[in-house]
């Protein structure tokens, strides 16, 4: 897990007017607790049990990182970034050059995509937003203990937005499905097998 490395990045760069804010999209703070406690973060380490951030920033998978400047402007939209190389053989994204890019941003203000931020910002379709409404309804039904009805709407949400893994995988713990288990493996095999990517890093 990457949180201890993010904490190191925070400590290294905080004196230069920088902070990491980490947010766990998890149904229950207790799910995130072991990861957070192991990292002893001094940066704000938050929990979003309603997946609000996914809706607000059109986030469709984790990990996702965004760079926000001093004026509250997104200067590098949704990107995939791993801080440790624990799973590099799976995702193929070498953390070292990406961490250097963060350092260069903090020290020199370069983002690597100057002038292209807007076109690289992904925007949701009407169907994506319908999927999110289905997901909200599903979660509410689940919280009411109406499991079968919830399951129908979780499935519907995933069918509407098959690329949205905050819905398709992120709903698994809410539905009593192991998010690392056979259902997930089958889903990702089918997705990748039909020519899609599971991670969508920015092109540069």
């Amino acid at each position: 897990m990457d949180l201890p490395v993010w904490q190191e990045v925070h400590q290294e760069l905080a004196p230069l007017g920088f902070t990491v804010i980490s947010v766990a999209l998890d149904k229950d703070p207790e799910d995130a607790r072991p990861w957070i406690e192991a990292a002893s973060p001094t940066h704000p380490s938050l929990i979003d049990t309603e997946y609000r951030l996914a809706e607000l920033y059109n986030i469709v998978n984790v990990p996702t990182v965004l760079w926000i400047d001093e004026q509250g402007r997104v200067v590098r939209p949704n990107d995939v970034m791993f801080a440790s190389d624990a799973f590099v053989r799976i995702h193929g994204l070498d953390p070292a050059p990406r961490l250097d890019a963060v350092r260069a941003w903090v020290r020199q203000g370069t983002t690597g995509i100057e002038g292209e931020e807007r076109e690289l910002q992904s925007l949701p379709s009407e169907t994506d937003q319908m999927a999110r409404a289905e997901f909200v309804l599903a979660r509410w039904l689940r919280d009411q203990g109406r499991t079968e009805a919830a399951e129908r709407h979780f499935r519907r949400a995933g069918e509407l937005a098959p690329h949205d893994f905050t819905i398709r995988r992120g709903s698994m713990p809410l539905r009593g499905i192991d998010p690392m288990g056979p259902v997930f493996r089958e889903m990702i095999t089918e997705w990748v097998g039909s020519g899609h990517s599971y991670y969508h890093p920015l092109p540069k």
């Binding site: 938050l46 609000r52 920033y57 996702t64 001093e70 999110r132 309804l137």
Partner: protein
């Protein structure tokens, strides 16, 4: 006859009375206003200073408002489960798209493990690396 119905507007959950008519969910205008802030006026559906004209005559039925026609009028998605008596109104793709295209980082307030809340906007003046992850 009316039945209790739960209307979720983004994160706000409101109990209203609804009439089910042939698969349509009809809510009285007062309930719609409590749940969503939208008011039915002669000029359209209005909230604060904004009025959206109503082009679909199906919005008004028996002095009530058809929820799905309302969502369509506002270009908002709606997930409905008539059997469970609940619906969720989402954010329109156009509104969300405009906000994202502005590149203004939407503010959000979230708790840490101790329940202490933090807002993104508290960190103006710093560069922020927002890292979104999950245990799953």
């Amino acid at each position: 006859m009316t039945t209790p119905f739960t209307l979720i507007d983004e994160t706000r959950v409101t109990r209203v009375d609804a009439k089910m008519d042939d698969g349509r969910v009809l809510v009285d205008p007062g309930g719609v206003e409590r749940a969503t802030g939208w008011v039915r006026k002669p000029e359209g559906l209005c909230r604060d200073e904004v009025c959206v004209p109503v082009r679909n005559a199906g919005l008004d039925r028996d002095g009530r408002i058809d929820l799905e026609v309302m969502a369509q009028t506002l270009h908002r998605p709606i997930a409905v489960d008539t059997g469970e008596g609940a619906a969720a109104l989402g954010t329109s793709a156009v509104d969300r798209g405009n906000l994202l295209a502005s590149l203004e980082a939407p503010d959000i307030t979230l708790p840490d493990l101790d329940g202490r809340t933090h807002s993104l906007s508290e960190h103006r003046g710093k560069k922020v690396l927002l890292v979104v992850y999950a245990s799953w």
